[in-house]
């Protein structure tokens, strides 16, 4: 089949099935290295700073942030969109690559899904805190109440957003957990310690790998995969409508939904690269996450980077072509030049130009370069959101309204806190959950070798 020539072997080394289990599951038996404790320590400190900043926000109100009447959305929404974007990788990996029958996804999807769940959790904190009076958060649920009943406004993208994020979190968690059932059962059956057997046995839900279970498992993966594919596109489209339906120069454009969805997948895949490069190094998983896998992700990133570049160019072109003075001002005098030119050019360079280095095979095969470029993309995507949120709000129609924005220490603290939570979540995942979907790798382990694999191409795994 086609992937034989292009991808090479999906699992390197001459493994047996038992060895695959051992290689993937053995890091969980050992005490993690010193790096784990250092990382966890730093993440815990960051988390505590974040929790304190959240407490401070709730105790004293949004006035502790740098936002003002003109720039009503600051770091909170920037970081919200950034985290949600990163959270798109897991589903994109699992679902799009599942639908496209890309078997190489099996080594990476578990980590990408874990990242999704943690990142979406981090993201959800921001709008909740930005509500100001978080104890009234339940008002956003459409429930029968004694105020009329007063129902929520279904025309509001903010309500769509709430629905989308909640659904996305629940669904990506379900999908992730479903995929882990067979692996938990493997751990249960291999465990020698009683505690481990009991704990993983509890979470394995009585999985035995019987034919009926696999039949249902495959059907369910297919169903969840099929419908969640819609979700990957719709969630970030909805996030983009938070901006696009408001009549603010630089926001009010139909380009936003595709632009945001592609941007989300871009930052998500970059974060997957960052994470898997670290993961394969720390756990010696080079045979499973091969340079062929990372190479494939890099190639996708070139393509997405080109789309991002096109989107940036389109925005600027349409601003000029519309001859709308406010649009022209925003793009040409407040983004390309002006107070926020640095953020604009940082975005263009990190997202549209630097990833073009992946055209060179030597760069794609040099993991140090790949790692550094992936960090640049993460940074560039953050600047993109800063660029969108702050430039448009700081100088809108009325010059007397203009205002500058810089974050307060509280806002920075919340952001650092979510970074800490993310790292802590990922480290816990590394420690207690098989980082690669062992049962899925087993099913493709001979794919890519001569005369094996791909005979069940019509079946979706």
């Amino acid at each position: 089949m086609y992937n034989r020539e292009i991808r090479g072997a999906l699992v390197e080394g001459n493994k047996t099935l038992g060895q695959i289990s051992t290689d993937i599951l053995s890091p969980m038996d050992k005490r993690p290295g010193i790096w784990w404790f250092i990382g966890m320590g730093l993440a815990t400190i960051a988390t505590f700073w974040g929790l304190y900043a959240m407490y401070y926000t709730i105790r004293f109100g949004i006035g502790t942030w740098g936002v003002n009447n003109s720039v009503g959305w600051g770091w909170a929404i920037i970081n919200f969109v950034w985290w949600i974007g990163i959270g798109h990788a897991g589903t994109a990996f699992s679902i799009f690559l599942l639908i496209l029958r890309q078997k190489w996804r099996t080594s990476i999807n578990r980590a990408a899904e874990a990242m999704t769940v943690v990142a979406v959790g981090c993201a959800a904190l921001f709008p909740a805190l930005h509500m100001g009076r978080i104890w009234l958060a339940f008002y956003i649920f459409p429930y029968p109440n004694t105020r009329g009943p007063l129902w929520v406004n279904y025309n509001s993208p903010l309500f769509w957003d709430f629905i989308a994020i909640t659904a996305y979190l629940l669904i990506s968690f379900s999908f992730w957990y479903l995929g882990m059932l067979p692996d938990f059962a493997t751990i249960r059956d291999r465990a020698t310690s009683k505690v481990k057997k009991a704990v993983y046995g509890f979470f394995a839900m009585g999985w035995t790998g019987s034919s009926k279970q696999w039949l249902r498992f495959e059907s369910l993966s297919f169903v969840l995969g099929g419908i969640a594919a819609v979700l990957v596109v719709s969630v970030h489209s909805i996030v983009s409508t938070d901006f696009a339906v408001s009549v603010i120069p630089g926001w009010h454009t139909t380009l936003f939904p595709p632009y945001f969805v592609v941007g989300a997948i871009f930052s998500g895949f970059a974060m997957v690269l960052t994470l898997t490069i670290v993961m394969r190094k720390l756990f010696n998983l080079q045979d499973y996450i091969t340079s062929n896998h990372l190479n494939a992700v890099c190639k996708i990133l070139i393509f997405i980077s080109l789309i991002m570049g096109t989107a940036y160019a389109t925005e600027v072109f349409i601003a000029w072509y519309s001859a709308n003075p406010y649009e022209i001002f925003t793009f040409f005098h407040n983004r390309i030049t002006g107070d926020y030119a640095f953020q604009f050019w940082a975005m263009v360079i990190c997202n549209a130009l630097i990833p073009q280095l992946f055209w060179f095979r030597k760069v794609r095969r040099n993991l140090t370069f790949v790692f550094i470029i992936s960090l640049f993309i993460n940074l560039g995507m953050w600047y993109e959101r800063f660029n969108i949120v702050v430039t448009s709000l700081s100088k809108d129609y009325l010059p007397s309204n203009w205002s500058a924005y810089s974050p307060s220490i509280t806002e920075i603290g919340i952001y650092v806190g979510t970074l800490g939570m993310f790292v802590a979540g990922v480290l816990l995942f590394f420690r207690y959950i098989p980082v690669i979907a062992a049962s899925e790798v087993k099913s493709v382990w001979k794919a890519g070798e001569e005369g094996e694999g791909d005979k069940d191409e019509q079946h979706i795994r």
Binding site: I20, P149, P182, A185, K212
Partner: protein
């Protein structure tokens, strides 16, 4: 599942041998009674002669979910307490579609998972009935009901089964 007649259990190390065995088994017009594999092997899933209607159920959950959400939105926004948002119609259908799609996906996911759990009797803390300790690791466990016409032991061993045992019962299907 208790029935008269014994079950022959064969353990395989490789998928290739499993496929060969199933080919031979099907040539005798026999089916597998049950199989435990570390990953879904499609020849096995075809040879157990079982099917699942989970996809069909999910389809109906989706229909039900979409109708229920739309009805709820219509009831709350048009009947229960209509509010004029800038002159937009109470029944602002295009906005409703977005919410309906997302909530339908959520409903299908949750109900399908519930069905998966209920039908397969899979729930946290359930004690698994393990036929072979390594079936979730690296062994393929195939179980065939005894047949008077065929020497199953020979069929198993000639196709590379490393271990052949007999059982009186097999765990219930779920």
């Amino acid at each position: 599942m208790t029935m008269d007649g014994k079950y022959i259990v064969g353990i395989f190390d490789e998928e290739k041998q499993v496929n060969k065995f199933i080919h031979a088994l099907r040539a005798q017009n026999l089916f597998l009674a049950e199989a435990y594999t570390p990953y879904p092997v499609h020849s096995v899933l075809e040879a157990v002669k079982k099917r699942t209607r989970l996809k069909l159920a999910a389809y109906f959950y989706g229909l039900f979910g979409a109708a229920a959400v739309l009805a709820f939105l219509y009831y709350t926004a048009v009947i229960s307490w209509p509010i004029n948002y800038g002159g937009k119609p109470f029944n602002s259908f295009p906005s409703f579609i977005i919410i309906t799609i997302i909530l339908t996906i959520l409903i299908v996911t949750l109900t399908s998972l519930a069905t998966f759990s209920a039908r397969g009797k899979l729930y946290p803390g359930k004690v698994a009935e393990i036929v072979h300790q390594r079936a979730t690791d690296d062994k393929f466990v195939l179980i065939v009901k005894e047949d008077s016409q065929t020497d199953l032991h020979a069929l198993f061993s000639s196709n590379g089964a490393t271990e052949i045992t007999e059982r009186d019962t097999i765990p219930p299907e779920e």
